[in-house]
């Protein structure tokens, strides 16, 4: 019995060590330096679903030739990663990359899509 408890303590060590040390609550500190007050959709929606949204934009633009996105509040946007997203989020390194590195995902968008010159902020 004691052996099982010691085993459980040891195996869950990384979890409670990080929880008590406050590391589990770490969230990447993203800098939002946009001029616009609001993104194409709400902040929560974008945080959770920007990948699906971008995939949808990609398919609509490339395959259907439709370049206008009508947001849920009726505003219209040019469906473009470089011209719409990155025009506002000019700091790719402090915005996209920071979070992508933290969650360890490597989207291949920028293998082809060109990042506009970043302004030093």
């Amino acid at each position: 019995m004691a052996g099982i408890i010691i085993f459980l303590c040891l195996i869950t060590f990384p979890i409670w060590y990080n929880v008590t040390g406050g590391k589990a609550e770490y969230v990447p500190d993203l800098k939002i330096v946009t001029q616009e007050k609001q993104c194409v959709e709400s902040k929560g929606y974008m945080r959770n679903n920007h990948m699906q949204l971008l995939n949808e934009w990609r398919n609509t633009v490339v395959r259907e030739g439709n370049r206008v996105y009508v947001a849920s509040d009726g505003r219209k946007y040019d469906m473009s990663l470089s011209r719409t997203c990155l025009k506002c989020h000019v700091n790719k390194a402090d915005f996209c990359d920071k979070c992508h590195n933290y969650v360890e995902v490597a989207p291949t968008c920028f293998n082809c899509h060109v990042v506009p010159e970043e302004k030093k902020s």
Partner: protein, 253 residues
């Protein structure tokens, strides 16, 4: 209850008819479905094509090639094996085989060639991922996101209009145009008739760059279009039409 043969068949027939009820209801209710409204600048009712007036084309001029390749971030890898090309020149006798003859002065003359945006494109038929597809306005387009670099399309295209990126093209692009993506290693690319410019109401970059007005671009479905007038008034030839691909680049030689 006693059922005779006749009664059984009647009931059976009516029962089978019941199966038709659901599809019938579906068909009748279809009127209520919301049809997706077509985009404002719909692609239907268009058929883009180009005419190349070879006699107007000035020898040694590379304006169209330079314009296209700089707009579309086409790399210059510096050797013919790795070459990536959207618009380039070939000798007359090579692009019009069986039309050449020994004393034709045009035999060695370079002629501008690009993707023919075929009516019946073999590259589209062979693409296993549907990365290459034909839009309803006739443009044969690449979805680079889906290309797996299998090069079936390169084998299928009888015009050599497609190039594979054997290596990362980025370091070989002199000046990257931020408005257009580059490609990545292992992706096939080709002329896209400047879909991104057409979407903005501009004509293709090569046509715009040609000072001699040797390239004419237009919509074949528009009755008053310049291209229609040119095709009506001139004798034009196309590259290897007997293959049944229906090429849409017309040459006035």
């Amino acid at each position: 209850m006693k059922t005779d043969r006749r009664g059984f068949l009647k009931i059976g027939g009516l029962g089978i008819l019941g199966f038709a009820a659901r599809p019938l209801v579906d068909v009748l209710l279809r009127g209520d479905l919301v049809e997706a409204s077509p985009a404002p600048d719909t692609l239907a009712g268009k058929r883009w094509a180009m005419a190349v007036n070879v006699s107007k084309c000035k020898e040694g001029c590379r304006d169209c090639i330079v314009a296209c390749h700089s707009v579309h971030n086409v790399p210059d890898l510096g050797n013919p094996k790795d070459e990536v090309k959207w618009i380039w020149t070939e000798s007359y006798k090579k692009i019009f085989p069986e039309q050449e003859q020994e004393f034709d002065a045009r035999g060695g003359k370079p002629v501008v060639v690009l993707c023919n945006h075929c009516d019946n494109p073999p590259c589209v038929r062979v693409c296993p991922t549907k990365a290459t597809f034909k839009r309803s306005d006739g443009i044969v387009m690449m979805d680079y996101h889906r290309c797996i670099g299998c090069r079936f399309c390169m084998a299928a295209c009888p015009y050599g209009s497609r190039s594979l990126n054997w290596r990362d093209p980025r370091p070989f692009i002199k000046k990257i145009n931020p408005e257009f993506p580059t490609r990545t290693r292992g992706v096939v690319e080709k002329c896209d008739f400047c879909v991104e410019r057409l979407a903005k109401g501009l004509i293709p970059a090569c046509v715009e760059a040609c000072k001699e007005k040797a390239l004419v671009f237009g919509n074949l479905k528009e009755s008053g279009a310049e291209i229609r007038e040119i095709l009506r008034a001139n004798h034009t030839i196309r590259r290897r039409p007997w293959l049944g691909t229906g090429p849409q680049i017309y040459y006035i030689v």
